[in-house]
Amino acid sequence: MASCTDLEEELVRDESVATPHEPEMSRRNFLTATTALTAALAVGLPHAADAQSTTASAPRMADLLLTINGKQQALPIDTRTTLLDLLRENLELTGSKKGCDHGQCGACTVLLNGRRVNSCLTLAVTLSGAEVTTIEGLGQPGNLHPAQQAFVDHDGFQCGYCTPGQINSAAALIDEFKRGELSQVSFETGKTDHPQATEREIKERMSGNICRCGAYPNIVAAVRALTMGGVA
């Protein structure tokens, strides 16, 4: 039948004609050509000629003071920087994931002043004075947050890329239930006074986090265990 293993056959076939006997000249040509280009670019770059176009395109910088995982940070940032890019590209906090960059998948979910938000649509510059908790701050190897432990126990993931967002959502969801917050399911089931963490409620409230691997049954199991464990 059809299968991606076709790929393997192609590669094996290719290997037999592969590189040792390549004409050395073509490689040399490419490598020397690009080396020359690098040099040309280094010279040709318009560092000095920062005319009006560069001015228009220059980042508008702002000073940001915020607390991330309990640590206060003072940072000069380009106003365009999202919280997600700040975490991933500037602070090496890559546990927060970029899945869509448009608030459509939930992989970037972090806790902002204790509430879950999409960090990809949050401009960092708006966060002066705020407190952010990322997956790195929630718990660490050897010191797992109960939500992290529940995902380990119930195998609530496969590829792991949506996982930090799922776990931050799960941690926030516990507090939301405690506060008696509602979902559309609360209306559909007629339980709008402190709804219980039923399976249907959990599924609805975890629906802002897409898992393409389809580990939803295990994610629900993890969150159910969490809601029954009375986690703070």
Partner: protein, 337 residues
């Protein structure tokens, strides 16, 4: 995203002054504006952050209604006890939209200003969109138009500078229409009140305009009139998956009942027009009638009068009717909240 200057406003009047400069925009939750800036659809040169103006309160009004501040988050509004008790339709609609994360960010004012999800508007690679590039035409008309309008659209052909078949994607707005909300705004010359039905526009000859709000006007909040549908209302949303999806068709239905008879009704549709589609005729057709299927079907037919669809969205006309009947049935049962 283009570089922009950021200002955090401390008071409404300074925010309004800052916004009067060319290329400035107010920033609320950012869930729509930042999204569109990333796609290159919006390119403000200044963002005026209006999240710190004290507009985050939900308070009773002297008239017996409620005032909702412009920066009240969708999740906070949906969970406000007075809203859940007296305006469950609004709470339900809010919770039918987006995701918990987005609802924690999105504001009341921002939701009023939410822009269309029309593919041809959101992707700048499409050359024709009268809303994004006035005068460029409408690529949706002959394109893939499953999510587009069947009521109130402007259709003068794909090349016309007026054609627009975009829809308003908000859930909150649909409930606001059924509830008869009033938008309170402030500009350089002072404050004014705009009935929500007059706040959004049909495309008419200016599809680039979504609302009648002027660029330097700030939404202070929304006034809800005294509750009439607290006991009998329902928000019903039809979509391609169970959650976290925009509506194909949605209906906000509120009924003021007197025994088995409808005293008054609020009825608005989402996903079918450039703005939430409130049918005053359908509301009148319901008033004074017994709450039964015949009445509801009559109202549905009235509401969809004049509707016409395209290659991919013609189904919306019948779907809207069925959804109206079901929403009114559920509202009449009084199971909400």
């Amino acid at each position: 995203m283009n570089p922009f200057t950021y200002e955090r406003a401390a008071a409404a009047d300074t925010a309004i002054r800052a916004a009067s400069s060319h290329g400035a925009k107010f920033l609320g939750g950012g869930t729509n504006l930042v999204d569109l800036m990333k796609y290159g659809v919006e390119h403000p040169t200044t963002l005026v952050d209006v999240n710190h103006l004290g507009m985050d309160q939900v308070t009773p009004t002297a008239a017996g209604g409620m005032f909702v501040g412009g920066s009240v988050r969708n999740s906070d509004l949906a969970n406000n006890p007075a809203i859940v008790r007296n305006y469950p339709l609004l709470s339900h609609a809010l919770l039918a939209g987006a995701s918990p994360q987005l609802r924690n960010m999105a504001t009341t004012a921002g939701n009023l200003l939410q822009r269309t999800r029309c593919y041809y508007f959101m992707d700048t690679a499409f050359p024709a969109c009268n809303k994004r590039e006035p005068g460029s035409g409408c690529a949706a008309l002959n394109g893939f138009n499953r999510i587009h309008a069947v009521l109130g659209q402007t259709d003068e052909g794909a090349a016309s500078p007026h054609t627009c078949i975009a829809t308003n994607p908000s859930d909150m707005n649909v409930a606001m229409y059924a509830l008869g909300a009033v938008v309170e705004v402030q500009g350089p010359k002072g404050k004014r009140s705009i009935a929500v039905a007059d706040f959004h526009r049909l495309p008419g000859k200016n599809p680039e305009l979504d609302t009648n709000l002027r660029p330097d006007e700030l939404i202070l909040g929304v006034t809800l009139p005294p509750a009439t549908f607290a006991k009998n209302s329902w928000y019903l949303k039809v979509r391609d998956r169970q959650s976290y999806a925009f509506a194909l068709v949605s209906v906000a239905a509120g009924l003021e009942m007197n025994g088995g008879t409808i005293k008054s009704a609020g009825l608005a549709l989402g996903g079918v027009a450039h703005k939430p589609w409130q049918s005053k005729e359908a509301e009148r057709a319901l008033a004074g009638k017994p709450a039964n299927r015949t009445t509801f079907m009559d109202a549905a037919n009235v509401a969809l009068t004049g509707a016409h669809g395209y290659k991919d969205n013609a189904f919306k006309v019948e779907m809207a009717k069925q959804t109206i009947v079901r929403a009114l049935t559920l509202a009449a049962q009084g199971v909400q909240a």
